[in-house]
C-alpha cells in the first residue's frame, strides 16, 4: 500500500478528497466517510430532538397548559425521548467517533466488515426517517418507553410506525457492535496487545458487548407490542391474558444497559482526553479497562430498579436494589482514576478538557442521585417525578453529550485537518455547562417537591423553578448552536492542524490529518505502552516524581 508522495504545493491525498461525487459518499465503504455521514445525520436528529425539548420547556414556563393541548404535549415529550435516545445518544459516540477512530487506533485499514458498516448507516437512516415520518403524521403519545397496555391496546397514535423505526435503528446498532468486536479481536496491529489498547477501544469493546447481547431483546419486545396491537394477540395486555410487567422486564433488560451504551464510549473519550491534557499515563490502566467490562456485565443485572413501583415482587426489588448499588463501584473506579491521573499532571485547559471537567462533575452528580433512586424507600416517593428526569439528564446530557463534544473537539483536527477556534470553543463549553446546570438542577428540587414527570399543568408555587429551568434551556440551546457554526467555519478557515496537534500518543496521531483512505502508509508496529507521555517531548514536562510503573502486556 504505497501512496504517491505529494509535490510541494500539491494537495495530499486523503479520505475527504478521494472522491467528491454524491455517489462516492453514499456508496463508500471507508469507515471515516461513514463516520462523517453519521456525524451529519446524528446532528440533524439532535437538532430535531433539541427543538422538541425547547417546546417542552416553553410550555412549562407557565403553570397552565396554554401553549399546547395535553395530547400534543404527550406527543412532543415522547418524540423528544425517541429521537434523542434512539437516534442521537445511542449512535452518537460509537457511530461517529467509534467508526472513525477504532480502525485508526488499532492500526487497521478499515473495520472488519466495511459493507456491513455502510449498511448500518442505511438501516439507521431508514429507521430514523420512519420515526420522523410517524412524528409528522400524528406522532406517538405513549412516552418513549412504549408501556403496554396503553401502547398496544388504547393509544390511537402512530405507535406501530414508531416501533418499526426503533426496531430498524436497533439493528443498525447491532451491525456496528458486531463490526467493532470482530475488528478489535482480529485486526490489531503487530505488537498491539490487549493491554496496550487505548482505553477508548476497551470502552467501545464493552459497549459492543452490550449492543450485541441486549439490542435483539428490545427489538423483539417492541415487535411483540406491534404484534399485539395489530393482531390482538395477548402478550402484554392483561385484558387479553398477557402481563404488562413482562414487557417492562424485557424492555428494561436492554434499555437500562442502553444507558451504558451511551456512557461507556463517553468514558473512553474522557480517558484519552484526560491523559493527553494532563500529559500523564492513565492511573490504574488495567482497572479502568476492566471497569468498562464490569459495567457492561453488571449493567445487565439492575434493570428492575425501573420497576420498584409497578407491581414487581418486593423481594425481586430488594435484589435489584442491591445490584444497582454494585454498578456504582466500577463507575467510581473510573472517576477516581481520572482524578488521580490529573493529580500532579501538567494540565492544559483546552476546550476538550473543559468538557471533560464538566463531565466529571455532572457524571458524579448524576451517578449519586441514581443511588437515591436505587434505594427502595426513597424511590417510592421519587419514582416518575422530575427528580428522575434530572437524574437521567445529568447522566445522558452531562455524561454522553459532554463526552461527545469533548471527543468531537479533540479529534476534529484529525477528522478535518483543521483546528477549531479555541477561544469561542471554550466559551461554548462554559455556556453549555452553565445552561445545563441551570436547566436540570432546579428539576431535582421540583422532583423532591413532588412534580410528576410528563405533566404540563402544575401548581403555581413551582413556577419559579420551572422558569429557571426554561431559561437554562434557552442558554443550553445557544451553547449547542455555537459549535455547529464555528466547526463549520473551521473547515475552510481553521489553522492547518498537522498530524498531531496535541502531542498525543496513540496510532491515530501517527498518520496524516485528515488520514489517507487506507489510514496508514504502512502497517504500524507497536512497541510502547499506551499513554507513554513521559517518552513524548512535544510539550514541556514537569517532573512529577511519581515514577509511573509500566503496565506489563
Amino acid at each position: 500500500m504505497s501512496v504517491a508522495v505529494a509535490k510541494p504545493g500539491e494537495v495530499k491525498h486523503n479520505y475527504l478528497n478521494a472522491g467528491d461525487t454524491v455517489r462516492s459518499w453514499l456508496l463508500t465503504t471507508d469507515h471515516k466517510r461513514i463516520a462523517v455521514l453519521y456525524l451529519v445525520s446524528v446532528t440533524l436528529f439532535f437538532a430535531v430532538g433539541g427543538l422538541l425539548a425547547l417546546l417542552i420547556r416553553l410550555e412549562l414556563l407557565t403553570p397552565q397548559g396554554d401553549l399546547m393541548t395535553s395530547e400534543t404535549y404527550n406527543r412532543v415529550f415522547t418524540m423528544h425521548g425517541v429521537v434523542m435516545i434512539f437516534l442521537f445518544l445511542i449512535p452518537a459516540i460509537p457511530a461517529v467517533l467509534g467508526n472513525f477512530l477504532v480502525p485508526l487506533m488499532i492500526g487497521a485499514r478499515d473495520l472488519a466488515f466495511p459493507r456491513l458498516n455502510l449498511a448500518s448507516w442505511y438501516v439507521y437512516m431508514a429507521g430514523g426517517l420512519i420515526a420522523t415520518w410517524a412524528m409528522v403524521n400524528g406522532g406517538v403519545d405513549t412516552g418513549w418507553t412504549f408501556y403496554p397496555p396503553y401502547s398496544s391496546s388504547y393509544s390511537t397514535s402512530q405507535v406501530t410506525l414508531t416501533i418499526v423505526g426503533a426496531f430498524l435503528v436497533g439493528f443498525s446498532s447491532i451491525f456496528t457492535g458486531i463490526n467493532f468486536i470482530v475488528t478489535i479481536h482480529k485486526m490489531r496491529a503487530p505488537g498491539l496487545t490487549w493491554f496496550r489498547l487505548p482505553l477508548f477501544i476497551w470502552a467501545h469493546y464493552a459497549t459492543s458487548v452490550i449492543i450485541v447481547l441486549g439490542t435483539p431483546v428490545v427489538a423483539i419486545t417492541l415487535l411483540l407490542v406491534a404484534v399485539e396491537r395489530v393482531f390482538r394477540l395477548g402478550i402484554f395486555d392483561p385484558a387479553l391474558g398477557g402481563d404488562p410487567i413482562l414487557f417492562q422486564h424485557l424492555f428494561w433488560f436492554y434499555s437500562h444497559p442502553a444507558v451504558y451504551i451511551m456512557i461507556l464510549p463517553a468514558m473512553g473519550v474522557i480517558s484519552e482526553v484526560i491523559a493527553c491534557f494532563s500529559r500523564k499515563r492513565v492511573f490504574g490502566y488495567h482497572f479502568v479497562a476492566f471497569s468498562s467490562v464490569a459495567i457492561a456485565v453488571v449493567g445487565f443485572l439492575v434493570w428492575g430498579h425501573h420497576m420498584f413501583t409497578t407491581g414487581q415482587s418486593v423481594y425481586a426489588g430488594m435484589v435489584f436494589s442491591l445490584l444497582s448499588f454494585l454498578v456504582a463501584v466500577p463507575s467510581a473506579v473510573k472517576v477516581f482514576n481520572w482524578t488521580a491521573t490529573m493529580y500532579k499532571g501538567t494540565i492544559e485547559f483546552r476546550a476538550p478538557m473543559l468538557y471533560v471537567m464538566g463531565f466529571l462533575g455532572l457524571f458524579v452528580i448524576g451517578g449519586l442521585t441514581g443511588l437515591f433512586l436505587a434505594s427502595l424507600a426513597t424511590d417510592i416517593h421519587l419514582q416518575d417525578t422530575y427528580f428522575v428526569v434530572a437524574h437521567f439528564h445529568y447522566i445522558m446530557v452531562g455524561g454522553t453529550i459532554f463526552g461527545y463534544l469533548a471527543g468531537l473537539h479533540f479529534w476534529w483536527p484529525k477528522m478535518t485537518g483543521r483546528m477549531y477556534p479555541e477561544g469561542i470553543a471554550k466559551l461554548a463549553a462554559l455556556i453549555i455547562f452553565a445552561g445545563f446546570n441551570l436547566t436540570f438542577f432546579p428539576q431535582f428540587v421540583l422532583g423532591y417537591l413532588g412534580m410528576p414527570r410528563r405533566y404540563h399543568w402544575y401548581p403555581e408555587e413551582w413556577q419559579m423553578l420551572h422558569v429557571m429551568s426554561s431559561a437554562g434551556a434557552a442558554l443550553l440551546g445557544i451553547g449547542y448552536i455555537l459549535p455547529i457554526f464555528y466547526l463549520l467555519w473551521s473547515l475552510r478557515n481553521g489553522a492547518i492542524a498537522g498530524p498531531n496537534p496535541w502531542g498525543a500518543t496513540g496510532l491515530e496521531w501517527k498518520t496524516d490529518s485528515p488520514p489517507i483512505t487506507h489510514n496508514f502508509e504502512e502497517t504500524p508496529i507497536v512497541t510502547e505502552e499506551p499513554y507513554a507521555y513521559e517518552n513524548h517531548h512535544q510539550h514541556e514536562e514537569v517532573a512529577s516524581g511519581t515514577g509511573a510503573s509500566t503496565a506489563e502486556a
Binding site: 479481536h185 482480529k186 414487581q312
Partner: protein, 108 residues
Amino acid sequence: MNNGHDTHTHIVPIKVYLLVYVALLVLLVATVGAAYLPGHHTLLNNIIALTIAVVKAVLVVLYFMHVRYSTRLTWLWASAGFFWLLIMFILTLGDYFTRHWVPVQGWE
C-alpha cells in the same frame, strides 16, 4: 499477528446435516407430544417444552451455524449469548416466583 483470515474451513458431510435435521424433527414431535401429556399447563410441562427448545437451539447453533468447528473465541461468544439469556430468565422469574410471597409485617 492478527491478519483476521481463518484459512481453516471445515467441510461438514451432508449426512451430518440430515441427521441433525431428523433429530430436530423428532424433537418437534416430542414437543407436540409433551403438550398432550396429562396435566398440561403445569410447571413440568413448561420445563419439558423449554428443555426440548434449548436442545434444538443448541443443535442448530453447533451444526447449522458451525460453532462446533469454530475457534474457542466463537465458542465463548455463543456461550455468552446463552449466559445472557439465562440472566434474563433467572432475574425475571425471580420476580414472578416471589410475587405472591407473603410480605413481611408492615411492608404493605
